[in-house]
């Protein structure tokens, strides 16, 4: 009885205190836990990693001596040969080989995942029986664990795999497609397109559902064919959303790691993040941190580029 009384009184006091705050004060009061979590688990680690990138690698302790931007300059100019990354194009310059791979991967996956995603969105947007089955099927590749996504394509392209048989019967490549850089790159890209198209599809679907249906009525009256309706109404209407989808997909592709590691162990198709992890696991913390920030800078540049080019035309989102 006594304790419930105290509890009630406390609640009343707190309630009273909250009532007497301004709107801004109340907002910050409510946001406090979130901001605390973000400061400790996101902002602080990023700043700490940034600081670490200014120190030399050291095997005897966590950080070597302070060397300023040397990690960055050496990575970009290719002056470091201790980086534990397997090469793809250029044997001598690990960063200069993982950068082209990452950019090529980004270009290929963004283009093809967008095309596949667009088709999926059009299919998801229709009304027909069995639509929920299509919905589950489209979502599934995106929703399963990354390690399983990778495992599937690993199993498809082991020497005995069905995918390998197909590649061989087409006369394309040898019996170990995952160990050869060009085929491995194609396989990893294929896997990523299969995995990420649904994500793009769902964003485009939002755009499709936002289109004013009257436009199609007008189009029909004016005698536009299905194709003309698509080209003159659908495409321009979803363009802003399409751009957002492609931007988000570009950012995801540029920091890709899990899928590549799960299919090829990062050995034949090294992405930027593969490089970060490789150096991190090799205790080269300075190099690892610098490589991580080079990745972040590139991602930032791509985002800013998109925003400058398409920022005005996009109506919604970011």
């Amino acid at each position: 009885m006594n304790t419930t009384g105290t509890i009630r009184q406390t609640i009343a006091t707190v309630n009273n205190w909250i009532e007497n705050r301004t709107e801004s004060q109340f907002a910050y009061f409510m946001l406090f836990p979130v901001l605390l979590v973000f400061s400790v688990l996101a902002l602080w680690p990023v700043l700490y990693t940034l600081e670490t990138s200014l120190y030399a690698d050291s095997f005897s302790q966590f950080r070597g001596e302070f060397i300023g931007l040397s990690n960055y300059t050496e990575l970009v100019t290719g002056g470091r040969d201790s980086v534990l990354i397997r090469p793809f194009i250029d044997l001598g310059n690990p960063f200069q080989s993982i950068l082209p791979v990452t950019l090529m991967f980004t270009a290929v996956t963004v283009v093809f995942a967008t095309i596949l995603g667009f088709v999926q969105a059009l299919v998801l947007n229709g009304t027909y029986r069995g639509r929920s089955i299509v919905r589950v099927a489209v979502l599934l590749p995106w929703a399963v664990p990354i390690v399983v996504q990778g495992m599937i394509f690993y199993l498809l392209f082991i020497p005995a795999g069905a995918g390998t048989d197909l590649v061989n019967s087409l006369g394309l490549m040898g019996s170990q497609p995952l160990n050869e850089s060009v085929t491995a790159f194609a396989i990893v890209s294929l896997a990523d397109i299969w995995v990420s198209a649904p994500f793009i599809a769902l964003i485009i679907l939002a755009g499709l559902q936002g289109i004013d249906q009257n436009l199609y009525q007008v189009g029909k009256v004016a005698g536009a064919s299905r194709w003309e309706q698509f080209r003159l109404i659908t495409l321009p209407q979803v363009m802003p959303v399409l751009m957002i989808a492609m931007l988000l997909k570009s950012l995801m592709s540029m920091r890709v790691y899990g899928l590549i590691d799960a299919t090829t162990n990062c050995s034949t198709v090294p992405s930027l993040t593969c490089g970060v992890v490789g150096t991190f696991n090799g205790s080269l913390y300075g190099t690892s941190a610098a490589l991580a920030f080079i990745t972040a800078i590139l991602i930032g540049l791509v985002s800013v580029g998109y925003l400058i080019k398409y920022g005005n035309s996009s109506t919604g989102g970011i």
Binding site: V37, P145, A160, F280
Partner: protein
Amino acid sequence: MSTERSGNDSKLEQLVSYSIVNSDTLYRNLFYFTAICIVLISLAPFYYLFVIALTPSSRTTDAGIVPAGFDPSSFIEMFQVVPLHRFVFNSLVIAVMVTMIVLVFASLAGYVFGRMDFRGKPILFIGILVLSYFPGATFIVGLFRLLTGNISVLGISSPDLFGTPGVVALPLTTLTLPIAILLLTTFYSQIPDGLEDAARVTGSTRIGSLYRIIAPLSAPGLVTAGILTFITAYNEFFFSQLLTTGAAADWSPIVWGLSNYQTQVSVRYDLMAAASLFAILPIALLVLVAQKKIVSGLSGGTLRG
């Protein structure tokens, strides 16, 4: 030759005129054809897992469209070689932890960002979103030091969480929080102001109107945010791989469970396939039940507003 060509031409002509007259039928059939292709593209790789899982390990090379032989024992053996059930359990525990923490924090932030005006709101909101688009790699050195007890502030050392579920759950919380906040901000901003105003006018306190008006209305938004968070957390790869020991008893998640089959002495593809199928079971069930919510959440919630 010429008769054959004209024959083809007339057939083609027929087809063209038929398509023009029945363009709707043609379009519909084309649509169904595309839909079937999409379903096949999405599901065929999963079907292949069944083929490999059912093929006896000695005959993997013969597996094609159908399994070479029928040997379901891999579905039992996979638990004996690797404690797969424990890895899946670990992942489920971590995903539930993350989802619960994220829902509490994201609904607070979503309410504030969606329904209140205050100084610094745009900067804070964009700041949180931008941070979430930083590559995971930029967190790892700092997080690793922090969560292994190597950072001390004012003489108090950070906790060593290595080998506990927290070591993955905490980074995943920050990773999934921004998306949940974005989703719930949009959701809360769509609740009409009038409801809350009415409650305030009739004498309800801030907390009272939050509890009586907003909380009951927020259930659908919370469900969608929760599902998406759970899926992201269960599937995560990067932090799970880098921050855990790899042992089942140390709360290592499913990433390690499946990787462990690759490090076995004799590589057993049938076990890998069977284990993959087992690992996706929780997510497949969730997608089956919640497909509508996921679609509306991702397509409607995160990018509109």
